[in-house]
């Protein structure tokens, strides 16, 4: 049957909506190969339609299969792009190596371009009135209190606070910090709010 490999690819993406799987280079290559094969058969049969008119319908069927493969490949890439965007918003502009390696080189390039575009948009915010921009990845939830208690989940090193104090974030250490200054680390899983 036509266009079956591509469906396996999409089912895989649908199964794990909250994680990104390694880019499936091999399958993409096989699908593109199938497309070239279909195209070649079509070229041959299109030339033979003078002798056998009903070949024309066969050509049309293969054409539908080509379109179908194309649609599915684009949908696969598009779905991954959506996930890669989420990575930018959640991890930030630097991806941990184990996440980075799930992306193909081209995807990583796309991630960087997306990140650059986003950064330059965020920098432009309020520029007219002398602002140096707003980080839209912050302030995700309605504020409840100015300070919160957090537990450190990993050795993160030093953190300099706005008032000049420097604290060391060591695994399992507890801190009482300004909400505004630790929300990004919470999002990235370095800190955890104690409730």
């Amino acid at each position: 049957m036509f266009a079956e490999k591509v469906i396996e690819l999409l089912k895989e993406a649908e199964r794990n909506p909250d994680t990104i799987d390694p880019f499936n280079d091999e399958k993409i290559r096989q699908i593109l190969e199938e497309m070239h094969l279909l195209f070649k058969m079509n070229m041959n049969d299109a030339n033979a339609t003078n002798e056998n008119k009903s070949l024309w319908t066969t050509v049309q069927v293969r054409h539908s299969a080509l379109e179908r493969n194309k649609r599915c490949l684009l949908a696969y890439l598009y779905d991954r792009m959506k996930k890669i965007k989420t990575l930018r918003w959640e991890f930030g502009s630097v991806l941990p190596p184990d996440v980075r390696e799930l992306l193909s080189d081209e995807e990583y390039q796309w991630f960087s371009k997306y990140s650059t575009n986003l950064a330059s948009y965020m920098r432009s915010l309020g520029q007219d009135i002398g602002y140096s921009g707003i980080d839209l990845t912050e302030n995700l939830k309605p504020p409840k209190s100015l300070y919160i208690e957090v537990l450190c989940m990993a050795d993160h090193g030093k953190l300099e606070l706005e008032d000049g104090d420097v604290i060391t974030l060591k695994r399992n250490s507890r801190h009482f910090l300004p909400t505004a200054e630790c929300q990004t680390l919470i999002r990235q899983g370095v800190l955890k709010q104690i409730v």
Partner: protein
């Protein structure tokens, strides 16, 4: 100066308080969150609020750190920052999702001077689309057989679903909102009395949302 001009000017420049701007921005945020399509931007209000925040932050720095008033002001500022960030983020999400459609529409709107996007948002949208196009081309399209290589933006475009159902509260009384009735091929008209609440399709009330006659809830 011409006296008539003078009057018009002073009417336009009528003092709007920061309090009013904040209220308007909050309802713009709510509408943006709940409307399927992107709404006309409110950049002037965003900038006004940013200015207020800046001003306030300078004043807070003059207060002792433990001053109760400093905490109160900081809390209010973080509330306003939350609205602004959420509002702008919501708009970016829509711009990305519907980018092909929004760019097309926006080009037409720019001709008539009724643009919905800020210049920075429009620039972002174009760059986003460009990056997406080149990614799709590089990874698969260019490797397809000859007649399959074209990027068919019209096919790929995603449109906001204007038929989606929304909740609203009428700010003013609006009569004769036409609901399309699909079953009996007969349209139904309803009145939205001030303060009343409804659930209905977005499309017939889209303009009312934009003019502020109704508030999405």
């Amino acid at each position: 100066m011409d006296p008539i001009d003078d009057i018009e000017l002073s009417e336009e420049e009528e003092e709007i308080t920061a309090e009013t701007v904040l209220k308007t921005l909050q309802s713009a945020w709510q509408n943006e969150r709940l409307a399927p399509e992107i709404l006309p931007h409110h950049n002037d209000m965003v900038e006004c609020m940013l200015g207020q925040i800046q001003h306030m932050e300078r004043n807070i720095n003059k207060l002792p750190k433990t001053d109760l008033r400093a905490s109160i002001h900081k809390m209010e500022l973080s509330r306003i920052k939350f609205i602004i960030c959420n509002y702008l983020r919501t708009r970016l999400n829509k711009i990305e999702k519907y980018c092909i459609h929004i760019i097309n529409e926006e080009r037409q709107r720019m001709e008539s001077g009724t643009n919905y996007l800020t210049p920075a948002e429009f620039k972002y949208a174009q760059e986003y689309l460009l990056n997406m196009e080149s990614h799709l081309k590089n990874v698969v399209l260019d490797k397809m057989p000859g007649n399959m290589q074209t990027l068919e933006l019209n096919k790929m475009a995603i449109y906001p679903n204007l038929q989606t159902h929304v909740f609203l509260k009428a700010n003013d009384t609006v009569s004769c909102v036409v609901l399309e009735d699909l079953v009996g091929d007969q349209d139904e008209e309803i009145d939205l009395e001030e303060g009343s609440q409804h659930i209905l399709q977005y499309k017939p009330v889209a303009d009312l949302v934009k003019t502020g006659k109704v508030q999405l809830v």
